[in-house]
Symmetry: D2
Subunit: 295 residues, 4 copies
């Protein structure tokens, strides 16, 4: 298939590499060209502009940091909207707002293009091994066309809805649920630690009994180690995702008290020097409030 | 081994039956004798008083609803403390306060008896199949003596500490973590449901990706079904466990904001007719606050 | 002075009338002309467009519902920015975001115009009696020019800062403080009411002892009466102000847990039919959660 | 009147002195006798035991730190209950739990004694000047007998109810409302301070407009000064009062989210070295979370 890929951060690079491996004709674009060059060695064509990455393609992926980044590549004279062929598909895998997904759906539709939201679950290592979970939502026929690409990057594809924005909300809600695990673990671990129970032993007890899911293992260990650098997923991005979750809750009129609590945790962390930390660092705040020394 | 067992609710009956099956010499006691008679058919002796269940035993279990129930069988003229032989072991599997565990440790020690806190994780079905997780804490030598009994009721024994109260805190913290899952799921499910996403489909997405742990499956389904009766674990007991968690946090000076939030959820539920519901019914409150109709 | 006034809602009409009474040469504009006509009877000229209300004036007030309304009259071809004379002063009394105040400051400055944020405290009755509190912030010289107008509408003028946005933040924080009083009163009143204490008697006790401020009297009575219609200040506006407060907290990185709680209260209220209610109706939610019947 | 007074802390000493000044025949008792001796100089008799302070009196006041202190002087062989004459009145002015007030009501009634809960609002300076507010609840006839004593210590007496515990709940709810003011002010002050607005100026703006009540002046100044020692009312007592408020909410099934938040603030403060600070020190925590330096 003729495919464009825009946005080659940790996640995007790994996904693009897996699309290449699956034998597709891939053109890549990144704001800083260097990251694109690396994929050239694996057979990708390198585009110098967004338009170059879109013209003539059947499918174009965008995998970018936030709403602003997506808006800057999609709208504008040489953007995705202006240059993607009629009938072609824009797959947005970025974690963006529900409102922007709605706008993208409408604008692509006006131009006779198709739009799929296809956010992913998984950290960069999972992306590298093509073990992401991908959650497409959009017109069924478009999803069928893009399915081989989804299978190239993910261990599992789950179709969410024919409304693209539904996938974005599911993705945001998933990140919110992860932060709720981090916060709850942080509280529980502060509590038992203050009675003298070892944090690693405690995480072992939890994860070998009721809480066997990977999220408990991953984040339990990070909090027990107290090691939040380098960031696998930055606190600034976590804060952004919770903000988007709350914004969705606001426009849908759904109170979300744990999300509100987690938002305040992120602001506390960021106001006190946490910009470069992993988002799980909010799990260290309950211990600090309990008067425990840092790990 | 010569064993006494006091408290034959759903959990206690199942545990006692498994101890019998393992070939021990078991004497059982329950406030309402009828539940004890059922175990007689399986070979148990039935005691008419607490003292009768304790005298001459090597190990006596208590598995009761709350602090008050434990205090009433332990203290007093014919109670566990007065009638358990010197050197024998009291195993408390009830979910009780850290403060009471501390007091039991001290009082048994004064009388030359041994005390183990051995709370369990698992719902009644797991107890019936001897698939509990048991978390003993206390003197190592006593735990070694009682280990065959623990293995008779559990799929796994994890020694927590030589301080009995540590096991109680771990148990309370585990129940707190479960309530945090219920609350977070309740919020996330209200959010996506208000956009039109089916609750069962959403739980499937979560549990087939990042949230594979049984707690997400069990409670996700209960909330999606909106069916909270009959109660597997009553809201009143959930409220009690969060109260004990907060009390431990208070005496250790550990702020626990999610626990505080969950406490308010339980009070809301109980103030509005929820006494007979399963504790997972607090997971339906976010939907109500979002203006969604009951399931 | 030659003055324009844009936005003749309950607050704006009262302020404009008081400026007229003080003898100024006033031109008024309102989207629905009818409200402007009423002031014509008192001597105001009626403008048909925003530009007509701005051209040739020394000072132009805007008193509008929200950021969107202010943006629509300020920006655009015939807007305040395009038509206000060089050196003239735009006084924004609307409760708008800190971010918009920042933008207005910059844009007016680029055009050689002056900008003052001058939000007010007080409900419509206070506006009618010229008993508002007005909180101007901006260039000192501009405030001196506009001071006679401020004195015409307010019992007291307090200069906040030379940064216009500071006044907006103070105004937002003041509304946040009022909502915190409403929420706290709602909780306390639910608590004592459930023990059988009469709500009006309770408010009397509070306001005749430690809590004599008008906010406690006003909102205590509203909650005790349970009468939230017609709205003096609508719940939708309250929700907006808390949203702007939280947005300011977010960009300044200041966690605001009570503001988060109040936000969830507003969403709950609005999701359950509260659009037409006074913002103090959030103070009835604690009683509902406590299982008490509506008043 | 023949009066006993038990508990001569800052508040109790001042109240006892004012009862003496009003000409009553006063016998005082304090655990550490020294504080009693000081009142002897003003004409008080000094009792060596609780019983000595109770026998033969018409009215006995208790003004003690907490439930435990009240229990220790009331119950027991030579306690208030055992030694107060039949028909005489026990006035409890301590801030105690609703549950203990209930128990005192029942036990005094069984012995043919009368019981009034008469908590007070006001800090020690107000007590010294006989400017407290006193809130008696109990049998109307008993309140009439004790009224001259109430008038001797207070600027105003407000009869709450004929159920003594109602006065205790009103007192607790009042302290809760004060903590809600401290927390809300702390949040608002952190917010505006981070934009560069001076804290004292901000408090002036608030208290000269909508928030003129003394609580805003007193606590606004304490937070703006950042000076929390010596404690006028200790954080440990504040924590206790919030705990009792939440306990009352729990038994009445009333969720109290701001009280829960404030409880966590107190635990945070106490876990980080705040034992000797004034309770208003919780108002400095929002600034810390916002990354602002201490004052």
């Amino acid at each position: 298939m003729k495919v464009g890929f825009i946005g080659l951060g940790k996640m995007g690079s790994a996904m693009a590499a897996n699309i290449l491996k699956a034998g597709h004709d891939l053109t890549v674009y990144n704001r800083t060209r260097e990251r694109a060059e690396r994929l050239a060695a694996q057979g990708a064509k390198v585009a110098s502009t967004v338009g170059e990455a879109c013209r003539g393609q059947e499918v174009v992926f965008t995998m970018l940091a936030d709403d602003a980044a997506v808006e800057s590549v999609v709208f504008g004279d040489d953007g995705v909207l202006a240059t993607l062929p009629k009938g072609a598909i824009h797959v947005s895998s970025s974690t963006i707002s529900v409102a922007l997904a709605e706008r993208l759906t409408a604008e692509h539709s006006q131009r006779g293009q198709q739009f799929i939201s296809a956010p992913v679950f998984g950290r960069p290592e999972a992306a590298a091994e093509a073990k992401l979970f991908i959650l497409p939502a959009g017109p069924r026929s478009a999803i069928e066309v893009a399915a081989p690409l989804f299978q190239a990057v993910a261990q599992k594809m789950i179709i969410v809805s024919d409304m693209p924005k539904a996938a974005n909300l599911v993705k945001l809600s998933g990140n919110f649920l992860i932060t709720s695990v981090i916060e709850a673990l942080g509280e529980a671990m502060a509590l038992v630690r203050k009675l003298g129970i070892d944090s690693h032993q405690y995480v072992d007890i939890l994860t070998s009994t009721l809480f066997g899911a990977p999220v408990y293992k991953t984040y339990g260990k990070l909090i027990a180690d107290g090691k939040f650098e380098p960031a696998g997923f930055a606190a600034t991005l976590g804060e952004k995702d919770i903000r988007l979750t709350l914004a969705a809750g606001e426009s849908l009129r759904v109170p979300l008290p744990i999300a509100s609590l987690v938002r305040d945790r992120f602001l506390n962390l960021l106001a006190n020097g946490g910009d470069t930390l992993d988002w799980s660092a909010i799990g260290s705040l309950p211990a600090r409030e309990a008067g425990l020394p840092p790990k």
